[in-house]
């Protein structure tokens, strides 16, 4: 279990109850728990959706799609049951926030799921939690049991006449299953392979029924929006980027950890003030701003607001909130290799470009880093990634291609320094092969 950190600049919304014993249902109720869902019951579907739309809440799972908008795509009438699916498969290197929510505030996730259900007329929700988060399964399951015991879940919730069931489901250890359509396949008991889209889950999802799929953090925000109002929430961040975000600051930092900061918070400030800067007298070399799939920023590019639009303008992505900071003793070739190793290992293998592309990238980069690189490899690596980009069956291929292209483009010199049988110039600095992430 990770230690909690804090900083005065933090604006605590989702992390409000962290460290306050809210896994206990009574304690959760003391901390204003389950009020939002009762309010939502009174509001009715349209009002809930409007509130969430106006709050500017955008998906925290990576793509940053407007949550209220997504909910509004669910057809009102459906011959098949509708579902809510909470995506807690959190597996992207650098991202480690959903686990804190499950650990410290599980009822907030349940509440978010129920409110999402109310907004579309669904009566069943699933909370899918990453398989490796074994220690969270008992916490989540107990929370669900407790909520049932009080009549907050099940038949006639809060005496409203509305039925709502919530189930927990544990993953089996695949990053790809975080992709929403693979997630549904996995939940249905099949191999974790994405589906052809369209149709999108909001129309044809779990077992063919319309399905809302949201990230755990996204859903945990919803009760606060219902209670605090759209206007308040939207005002926390820049336009169209409502609220706050759990930023997972990791890597070469003095005070790494998960901090809740307003959307649009400056990255440079985040590194030097919030997380205490680079330790050991080293200098900043690069930052991966939103989880391993987002293109790297150089030290010169970090004066940027951490919201979806500003980062897109800077040529990268806010992604899933994993900020990985690298100091000047880091070998970027090795880092590229470590990143691609992950994607090679996690590729589901369904489509040619990702299955074969990640494998050849890994092989080439491994040889390259080991000192047997050829000059043409540098272009080949870029060529491989470029030819995967935008052509794979699901975005995992892009997630592997985009950072690779950025590494080559922005750190070509480091690649060249590895040529002609020279040993890795950074090896003497004694870094391990591991990608710096928070301890599990």
């Amino acid at each position: 279990m990770a230690d909690l950190v804090s900083h005065p600049d933090e604006v605590k919304v989702v992390s409000k109850r962290f460290g306050k014993g809210a896994t206990n249902l009574d304690r959760y109720l003391e901390l204003d728990g389950y009020k939002a869902v009762q309010k939502a019951l009174a509001m009715g579907p349209d009002a809930i959706i409007n509130e969430v739309k106006n709050s500017g809440l955008r998906g925290r799972g990576g793509a940053g799609f407007s949550t209220g908008m997504k909910w509004s795509f669910v057809p009102k009438q459906s011959p098949k049951p509708k579902y809510v699916l909470c995506n807690g498969d959190e597996s992207e290197p650098g991202t480690c926030k959903d686990r804190l929510i499950f650990e410290h505030d599980p009822h907030a996730v349940i509440e978010g799921v129920v409110i999402a259900g109310l907004s579309v007329g669904s009566h069943v929700g699933y909370i899918y939690v990453r398989g490796e988060y074994r220690y969270l399964s008992e916490i989540m399951q107990k929370a669900i049991r407790d909520a049932y015991a009080r009549g907050f879940l099940g038949k006639n919730i809060f005496g409203s006449g509305y039925d709502f069931d919530v189930y927990w489901h544990g993953g089996a250890g695949a990053y790809e299953v975080g992709e929403e359509s693979a997630l549904m396949e996995s939940l249905e008991g099949k191999r974790g392979i994405p589906r052809i889209r369209p149709p999108f889950p909001a129309v044809v999802g779990l077992w063919g029924g319309p399905t809302i799929i949201n990230n755990a953090e996204t859903l945990a925000n919803v009760p606060h929006i219902i209670m605090g109002g759209a206007e308040w929430y939207a005002g926390l961040g820049p336009p169209k980027n409502g609220g706050t975000r759990l930023f997972c600051l990791s890597g070469h930092l003095s005070r790494p950890g998960v901090y809740e900061l307003p959307m649009g918070y400056n990255l440079k400030k985040m590194i030097y003030e919030v997380a205490g800067g680079i330790p050991n007298g080293r200098k900043l070399k690069a930052v991966v701003p939103g989880g391993a799939s987002t293109p790297v920023l150089t030290a010169d590019e970090v004066d940027v607001g951490m919201d979806f639009d500003s980062l897109a303008k800077a040529g990268s992505m806010l992604g899933s909130g994993g900020v990985v900071v690298l100091d000047d003793a880091t070998c970027m070739v090795k880092f590229a290799l470590r990143t691609i190793k992950f994607y090679q290992h996690e590729s589901c293998g369904w489509c040619i470009p990702c299955r074969e592309g990640t494998d050849w990238l890994k092989k080439t980069l491994a040889r390259f880093h080991a000192g047997a690189g050829l000059k043409k490899d540098i272009d080949n690596i870029y060529y491989l990634a470029e030819n995967m980009l935008g052509r794979t069956f699901c975005p995992l291929g892009d997630a592997a291609a985009m950072p690779t292209m950025a590494f080559v483009k922005k750190f070509r010199k480091e690649f060249e320094d590895h040529l002609e049988g020279k040993p890795c110039p950074y090896e003497p600095l004694g870094r391990t092969m591991e990608l710096p992430v928070l301890a599990h």
Partner: protein, 786 residues
């Protein structure tokens, strides 16, 4: 469905709403490359070869998963698209062993073709390729993982198409691998569909692998010789010492009634043709032993003996047994020979379905028989009796895939649980042997319901009948359980349902042809009673007009010494009906066969016969679809039954022109005399036909008889050019003769299963090895008990 207009590469295309872009492109002749897309199987989007540019979409789109929408503007080739495809090919080739020089698929490999089109001549990778050892999954299925491009076609065809689900994908990422259902081997229907559909050489056939290169084979399109469904198949034929060797059966030509399909028998069961025990020489019994002779000697002896018996005891002292596996021309010729030359109506065959009853009931009615193609498209199907998965693999495929793709409703009535229940809308169990009562009940005899308890009560049966009556265009398929009067009941029921049609199931490749061609003691071709068929009497001159003996009657007659001679063509009555061989020892017996069967072993003269791969002609499948059988090549030691019949007639001093009305011609025949060039000869025949030229020039030319069949047998007057071009032509029973009441006991179902094929199957190494393998596998229940 309403039509949608799109443009593809500037061309306007109109196609029904819901059409996939890749199909819309195909409809105007624009081929979008694909590996994983396969018509009628679920969509995958896995290979990314079909990427095209759709206007207003930022990324390239997969044409195989995109449904067309009004106004869509599509570009199927551009430098960007070309590059995308090129890189996909580069990526698959990266881990591909490139062992094309020894790979079975070399020369007919989609990956080779794609490499040729999108040329990735240089490899960008120098790392070792990922390797896995080749695996044998069954006697007929081998898997070579490094060649696999993971298109998942095999997985889908086995699951969705065959409903066997024996293949799956294991592991993930670059370790993904196609895996068989029993860890390291397959337990399945061994259809080989997975092999045929594999775009590369990853799945290979045990019977074919490493035997030849595709371009060394001649490809002969013909019809399968096993069950009565009549799959179109392409034989891969090579020259060999004995003339020719068939090395492969597949269905590269998808134009047949079977589309993609072939079962294990069609795909592998051709190897009886070069079995070591194949008869290669005529034999004459001398001093009690069969000893090799010359053809001349043999024909002379037969001619002499038949003539002697005929003169001494009359034609009725000779019995003729025809075959379910000879061509229509041969069956027709055989019965004509019996009636015209021998002067007897003593002719019969192993009956496996009551076609005379069907013909009788359908006479004068509108066309009420369904073709094999119809079965794939019917909105509803009623199947009474039979187990098509085992006995009619193609029919089962048609039904299954009709249900899957078109949502047809399948109503099953059966005494046993059968696999097709998985596709059925309703399953009604009937007490074994009571299937006939179902027909009576359906036709309106409510009292019949009392015999039909099973798991359904009277109300259930009535509800079923009401439901069926509302099923317009229903196809009613019935097995040999339904015979005689029950057949006419079923026809009566059929007539009450709008558009309903019938299929009667028989068991062997040309059982329907044998029946249609008149291998009956009381019926001439087209089910015309012997005494009434004036057309034939005019044509043939004097023929006996009293009914002859049925097969059991002939046996009885031989037992009492009245029947003095037997002429058995392509049949094994001793083996099939467990007749006491002693019965045959008292008469003069001539047998034409491929093997020394139980019957041949009793013969006085045995003539080695060509099989259906070694001769040309036509077959009629159980539905009545007429198709050509083409000669794959010449085998010098054997003769087609057709030629032997003519030679015997000649040896009896008969003017063969009266038997085979061949005319002087200047052209070659139907492929009969062109040996290894028969593929060309078939095209040649089409060419001749198109010019109105008569190809027949010898008395051994079956087309001469085909002329007569088409002229005299009702329903067979189909366009000849279509037939010879290899297209199935449905024949109709509506103008048949009134048939005759038959003794239902004369019908004996063959009860072949998926892996057996009567006498023929006993000589197939492939079929035997599969059966052997299945026997050696512990039954599922034993495994569980362990």
């Amino acid at each position: 469905m309403p039509d949608v207009n799109i443009t593809v590469d500037g061309k306007k295309v109109t196609a029904p709403a819901g059409t996939l872009l890749i199909e819309a492109c195909k409809s105007v002749g624009i081929e979008v490359p694909s590996f994983c897309y396969y018509p009628n199987l679920s969509l995958q989007g896995a290979c990314r070869m079909c990427l095209v540019k759709v206007e207003k979409m930022p990324k390239l789109q997969t044409a195989c998963t995109t449904v067309i929408s009004e106004g869509m503007a599509v570009t199927t080739d551009s430098p960007e698209i070309h590059q995308a495809r090129k890189s996909m090919v580069e990526l698959v080739l990266g881990n591909h062993p490139l062992d094309c020089p020894v790979c079975d698929a070399g020369g007919e490999c989609e990956l080779q073709d794609m490499t040729f089109s999108y040329g990735a001549a240089e490899s960008k990778y120098i790392e070792p390729k990922n390797h896995r050892e080749e695996q044998q999954w069954s006697p007929v299925v081998y898997f070579d993982r490094p060649r696999c491009i993971l298109c998942y076609r095999c997985v889908r065809v086995c699951g969705e198409g065959m409903d066997v689900w024996a293949l799956g994908v294991q592991n993930r990422g670059v370790s993904s691998i196609i895996a068989p259902n029993k860890e390291d081997h397959l337990e399945c229907e061994e259809c080989g569909m997975c092999i045929d559909i594999c775009p590369v050489g990853a799945l290979t056939s045990g019977a074919y692998r490493y035997k030849t290169r595709p371009w060394e084979m001649k490809h002969v399109g013909t019809t399968c010789t096993h069950c009565a469904d009549g799959c179109k198949t392409t034989l891969g034929v090579r020259r060999s010492d004995s003339g020719m060797e068939i090395v492969r059966g597949d269905n590269r030509d998808k134009s047949g009634i079977n589309g993609d399909f072939l079962c294990i028998k069609g795909r592998y069961g051709f190897d009886f043709a070069d079995h070591a025990e194949r008869l290669k020489q005529p034999m004459i019994r001398k001093d009690g032993r069969l000893t090799p002779s010359t053809w001349e000697e043999a024909f002379e002896l037969i001619g002499r003996e038949f003539s002697r018996v005929q003169q001494q005891d009359g034609g009725q002292a000779i019995g003729v047994v025809g075959s379910n596996r000879t061509t229509n021309e041969e069956s027709y010729l055989l019965q004509k020979f019996a009636r015209v030359v021998l002067g007897t109506n003593n002719i019969d065959h192993h009956r496996t379905a009551d076609f005379p009853a069907l013909a009788a009931a359908l006479t004068g009615k509108p066309d009420l028989t369904a073709s094999m193609r119809d079965v794939f498209n019917a909105p509803a199907i009623l199947l009474i009796g039979n187990d098509p998965t085992n006995q009619h693999p193609l029919l089962a495929w048609q039904i299954r895939n009709n249900v899957r793709l078109h949502g047809a409703r399948l109503y099953l009535v059966n005494a046993e649980p059968i696999k097709l229940e998985r596709q059925a809308t309703s399953v009604t169990q009937v007490p074994s042997g009571a299937e006939g009562r179902v027909a009576a009940f359906l036709a309106g005899d409510d009292s019949a319901a009392d015999a039909l308890t099973g798991n359904t009560n009277r109300e259930g049966w009535i509800a079923l009948r009401d439901k069926l009556r509302s099923e317009a265009n229903l196809i009613i398929i019935f097995g040999s359980e339904i015979r005689g009067g029950d057949v006419s009941s079923l026809v009566k029921f059929t007539l009450n349902i709008q558009g309903a049609k019938l299929v009667c199931l028989a068991d062997y490749a040309n059982s329907r042809g044998a029946a249609d061609m008149g291998l009956y003691p009381d019926l001439l071709p087209g089910y015309q009673p012997v005494a009434q068929a004036s057309k034939f009497h005019e044509e043939w001159g004097a023929v006996p007009q009293t009914r002859g003996l049925t097969l059991p009657e002939m046996v009885e007659s031989a037992r009492t010494g009245k029947l003095k001679a037997w002429y058995v063509v392509g049949a094994n009555p001793i083996g099939r009906f467990a007749i006491d061989p002693y019965v045959f020892s008292k008469s003069f017996v001539v047998v034409q066969d491929m093997f020394l069967t139980e019957t041949a072993a009793m013969a006085d003269v045995v003539l080695p016969a060509a099989n259906a791969y070694e001769k040309s002609g036509t077959f009629t499948n159980t539905c009545g679809d007429l198709q050509v059988v083409k000669k794959a090549g010449e085998v010098s030691e054997v003769k087609p039954d057709f030629e032997m019949i003519v030679r015997i007639a000649a040896a009896m001093g008969f003017d063969v022109r009266q038997l085979v009305p061949f005319g002087p011609g200047t052209r070659m025949d139907m492929g009969q005399s062109r040996g290894a060039q028969s593929g060309e000869a078939d095209r040649h025949a089409v060419w001749l036909e198109a010019r109105g030229l008569e190809p027949k020039m010898s008395p051994f030319d079956p087309t001469a008889i085909l002329d007569e069949i088409q002229r005299l047998v009702p329903g067979y007057d189909v366009p000849r050019i279509n037939l010879l071009a290899g297209n199935d032509q449905h024949t109709s029973l509506s103008q048949s003769g009134p048939g005759a009441a038959q003794n239902p006991k004369l019908i004996v179902a063959a009860k072949d299963d998926l892996f057996s094929s009567g006498t023929l199957g006993r000589y197939s190494r492939a079929l035997n090895s599969v059966m052997e393998n299945h026997r050696n596998q512990p039954a599922e229940s034993d495994v569980v008990a362990d």
